[in-house]
Amino acid sequence: MLTCAFERRNSKLRGTVSSPRLRLLGSSVATKLLIGITGLALVLYLIVHVVGNLLIFLGPDFFNRYAYTLEGNPLLPIVEIGLLLVFLIHILRTIRNFVLNQRARPVRYVEKRRAGWPSRKSFPSSTMIVSGLWLVAFLLVHVKAFRYGAEYPWPAGGRDLYRLELETFRSPLVVAFYAISMVVIGAHLWHGIASGFQSLGADTPAWRRFILPAGKIVAVAIAGAFIVIAIWAHLQGAA
């Protein structure tokens, strides 16, 4: 009963009557949770994506058969729509959050320095919005080039994505754009992976010792693997 009185008093203070607990879903903490969940889902997708792409080293037969198996799956449209939704939630909620956060400090410091250890602040962590917006632009170019790229038929069925990839990366400009974008994605994940888990509420001393270095290793591994693939495709295509 006291809790009831307590909540009534609080809703009177704020001039609302809706359930404070349900309204929590719109709070700064829930926003953080949502950005964390969607971010980690995208990391999971990226890991699947990079492992799939590494199959290109096994030759056109294997790579195109893998792509055909994926494209032939009836669940693909559902997965694609789901992925698009996850992207949209992550991007839109982050932009809204960024704007609100900027408003929280209207007058900026004349001089501001990093506080040092144990702070995790780094160049990547302070430029998440920039790296994120770069990745949105990259995604548009990337999806246009491959998902909606040239449809070379492959005799055994499906598209000849092996050929498309080698042709796309023939231009050194494309390779450079991809390499820079992969450095940007590495930077985004450098802070993003550990931060995502922190946003989910996972933080014990043992977990912290594991996730901080592990997140950075996964970030470098994903970015590095994509860069190697792009350079390899360029060299193959040029040969």
């Binding site: 009831c4 607990r21 309204r23 709070s27 903490v29 956060n101 004349v110 990093r114 144990p118 989910l200």
Partner: protein, 249 residues
């Protein structure tokens, strides 16, 4: 020691502010940072000028009143201390020191280096307390709490509410302050009854005050004079999920 100071002067909440230069001569390395400012102020008063307004109370690092951003870091360069415990021996003769107030929409400047931190009081008033009637004081050993638990609760309870976490955060977020109180009470039996309504009320109040969200950078933990870790912020999320999951009346 002779120092060059650049200090934020602002006549009132709506007046425009700016950094002004002051010379601090005859400063002893044994003085605290606030004593150094006292000396500068005595000089200003002798000249018939307006003294620099700054907050302080206990001057022994426990009350949470002092609130200066020194050379871009809240509470200055030493870890785990308030600015009143910073001493001038930390500086060299001839150094230039920039002093600014906490900067956040929710902490409006009152004058010069003094900000209004009553937003913190309103967050606590929203739910950072225990108000259940538990009868008379129980026997000291009647409610056993393990050492691990009470140590954790006490570590969170160490918060002195100075606001350095907000000042250091790029988003001016109050999540560390809020998380410390939520964690403290969530660990103890007295805090269980109002556990869900507490997190709801405090999170809403912090958002309504205009504090930002948390980017998990941990600048707050690095400047906290009581070294409260950001695991207290992670606990807000867990408490919030539990509160929403269990629903309310």
């Amino acid at each position: 020691m002779r120092l060059k100071l650049r200090i934020w002067r602002q006549a009132g909440p709506t007046a425009p502010g700016r950094l002004e230069d002051y010379a601090a001569d005859d400063i002893s390395p044994d003085m605290s940072f606030l004593e150094m400012l006292d000396v500068v102020n005595e000089g200003l008063v002798r000249q018939g000028k307006d003294a620099i307004a700054f907050d302080s109370d206990c001057r022994e690092g426990i009350c949470g009143m002092c609130s200066l951003v020194v050379n871009g870091v809240p509470h200055g360069p030493d870890r785990g201390t308030t600015v009143c415990q910073l001493h001038m021996r930390r500086y060299k003769d001839g150094d230039t020191i920039t002093i600014e107030p906490w900067r956040a929409r929710a902490f409006p400047v009152v004058k010069d280096l003094i900000v209004d931190r009553s937003a913190f009081d309103r967050i606590i008033a929203a739910g950072g307390y225990v108000s259940v009637n538990a009868g008379g004081a129980p026997d000291g050993n009647a409610i056993p709490i393990s050492k691990a638990i009470y140590e954790q609760a006490m570590d969170s309870a160490a918060c002195i509410g100075c606001g350095a976490c907000v000042a250091a955060c790029k988003n001016a977020s109050a999540h560390l302050f809020m998380g410390a109180k939520i964690s403290q009470l969530a660990r103890l039996p007295q805090g269980q009854v109002e556990r869900a309504s507490r997190v709801a009320a405090m999170v809403h109040q912090a958002d309504a005050e205009g504090f930002g969200s948390c980017s998990n950078e941990g600048e707050c933990e690095a400047v906290c004079p009581k070294e409260i870790p950001i695991s207290n912020i992670a606990r807000i999320t867990r408490e919030l999920v539990k509160a929403v999951w269990r629903g309310g009346e």
